[in-house]
Symmetry: C2
Subunit: 228 residues, 2 copies
DNA sequence: GCGGCACCTTGATATGCATCAAGCTTGCAA
DNA sequence: TTGCAAGCTTGATGCATATCAAGGTGCCGC
C-alpha cells in the first residue's frame, strides 16, 4: 500500500509516535486502520465499548455530551493532526466518555489500544509523552472549569477569540472561526443568541469587526483589557 | 527513624507506590519529606515553581483558584490517602496550576518529582498506574464540566449528596458533609446562600433532613428521581 | 459570663443569560 | 424561478441564581 508511507510520515510528527523506532512503527501499522467519514456521521456514542483511539487526518470532529433535556455541550473540537480518546487505553472497562461525530467529512485513523499499550511497555519516552499530553489536557480542563465558573459569557468569548490568535501575534489580527458559530457557542456553554449578542456588543464598542467567519480584531491588547 | 516504617506501610497501599519493589521504595524514601501544616496554612500558590508533588497523610487540603474579583472556586478537596499535583512531574517548566491551602491541620508527604520520574523509568506498572489515575482525573473533569454546564444547582447538590453515599448503600443513609458548607458550595460553583436554599427545599419536600454536617437521606433512590 | 467572630440561614432585590418568537440571509433542490 | 431549510441575528420576556442585607447560633478568648 502506498497509503502506508503517507501514514508513516504523518505518525512521525505526532507526539504519540515520534519516539518509536522503525520496527515498532512497522509493527503498529498492522493494528491501524484508516477510514473516511462524512459530515454528520456518528463515529461513536458515549458509553460504547472502546477498542481503539483515534488520530484525525482531515476533516473535523466534535466530542460532546447531551443533557437529559437534549441540550448539547461540545467538549472538544478535533482538528487534523490531533489525537483523541487516548485515555480509553487505560480504562478497565474501556468505554468512550463522550459522543463523537464528524462535522466536516474527512479521514480518521484508528489505533488499537492493545497494540499501542504493547508499544508503551517498551518505550518509556513514549510513556512520558503520553503522560505529558495527559497533563496538558488536565491543565486545559482546570482552565475550562475556571472559565465556566469564575467568568461570564463576555469574558469567555473574548478569551476564545484571543485563543484563536496565532502565537506571538499581537495588534491587529484577523482570526477565522474554525466552525459554525452555533458550535462555538456550545463549546463556550452559552446560547447561540448570547454568542451573537456578545460579538455585536464588541463590534459596537469598536473592538472587532465580524464578517461571517472572519473576525477582525482591531487590537489584541486592547481587547484583552475590555473584559468587564 | 520510626517514621520510616509507618511511611513505608502507607505508601504500599497507594496506587503510585504499590508496584514498587523494596529497593525502589527504600531509594525513594531519601527523597520524601513529611511535614505538618496548620489549618489555613498556604502550602503553595498557583504559579509557584514546583519540585515536588504530595500525598496527604492527615488533615484536609483545598485546591482552588481565585477570579479577578476575588471569587474562589474550590477545584478539589483532598482527603487523607489522596495524592495531588502529580501532574507537575510531566511539565517542562513545572508550576502548580492552583493554590493549595490547609483547611484542617495535618501532615503532608512531599515526593520529589525527579526521584519519582527515575522510578517511573524502570517500572512500567507504575507508569501504567499513573496513566490510569490521570485518566480517572480526566474523566472526573469531563463529568464536572458536564455538571456545570448542563445541570442546575439543584441537580448539582443532589448529585453531590448521592456521591457521598458509600458504594453499594441505598435506601435510608446518613451522609456526613466532609467540610463546612461554604466550601462545598464553592466546589459546586454555587453561592453559599443557594446551597443553603437547596438543602432547605429538599428538606421541605421531605427528601432529607439536615442536622449541621449530618444529612439524613430518607431514600437514595427517591432522591435520585427528584432531580427536576 | 460576655463580646466578637465565623458560619449559616432567610428574605428582598438585581441581573445575566436562556428562552421564545420573529425576521433575515444564504444555499440548495425542485 | 420559487420554495424551503439551516443558520444567524435581534427583540421581548422570564427565570435561576447572584448579590445585598439582616438576624441567628455556636465557639473561643478574655
Amino acid at each position: 500500500m502506498d497509503n502506508r508511507s503517507v501514514l508513516t510520515r504523518e505518525l512521525r510528527h505526532h507526539y504519540l509516535f515520534a519516539a518509536l523506532d522503525a520496527k515498532q512503527r512497522t509493527r503498529l501499522l498492522g493494528h491501524i486502520h484508516t477510514r473516511p467519514f462524512a459530515a454528520g456521521e456518528l463515529l461513536f456514542n458515549q458509553g460504547d465499548a472502546a477498542r481503539a483511539f483515534f488520530l484525525l487526518q482531515s476533516g473535523a470532529v466534535k466530542l460532546y455530551r447531551i443533557s437529559a433535556e437534549g441540550q448539547e455541550k461540545v467538549m472538544r473540537l478535533i482538528r487534523p493532526g490531533q489525537s483523541f480518546a487516548e485515555s480509553v487505553m487505560f480504562m478497565n472497562e474501556p468505554r468512550y466518555p463522550v459522543h463523537g461525530q464528524g462535522i466536516e467529512g474527512g479521514s480518521l485513523v484508528s489505533i488499537e489500544c492493545e497494540a499501542f499499550l504493547a508499544i508503551l511497555r517498551e518505550s518509556f519516552d513514549t510513556c512520558r509523552a503520553v503522560m505529558a499530553q495527559m497533563t496538558r489536557r488536565i491543565q486545559a480542563h482546570w482552565d475550562e472549569i475556571e472559565l465556566l465558573t469564575l467568568q461570564n459569557s463576555r469574558y469567555r468569548v473574548i478569551h476564545y477569540l484571543l485563543g484563536l490568535v496565532p502565537d506571538g501575534q499581537r495588534g491587529r489580527v484577523n482570526v477565522i472561526l474554525p466552525t459554525r458559530k452555533g458550535l462555538i457557542a456550545a463549546q463556550l456553554a452559552v446560547a447561540p443568541e448570547t454568542f451573537s449578542r456578545v460579538l455585536r456588543a464588541l463590534t459596537d464598542e469598536g473592538l472587532i469587526e465580524v464578517q461571517d467567519e472572519v473576525v477582525d480584531v482591531y487590537d489584541t491588547e486592547v481587547l484583552r483589557l475590555h473584559i468587564r
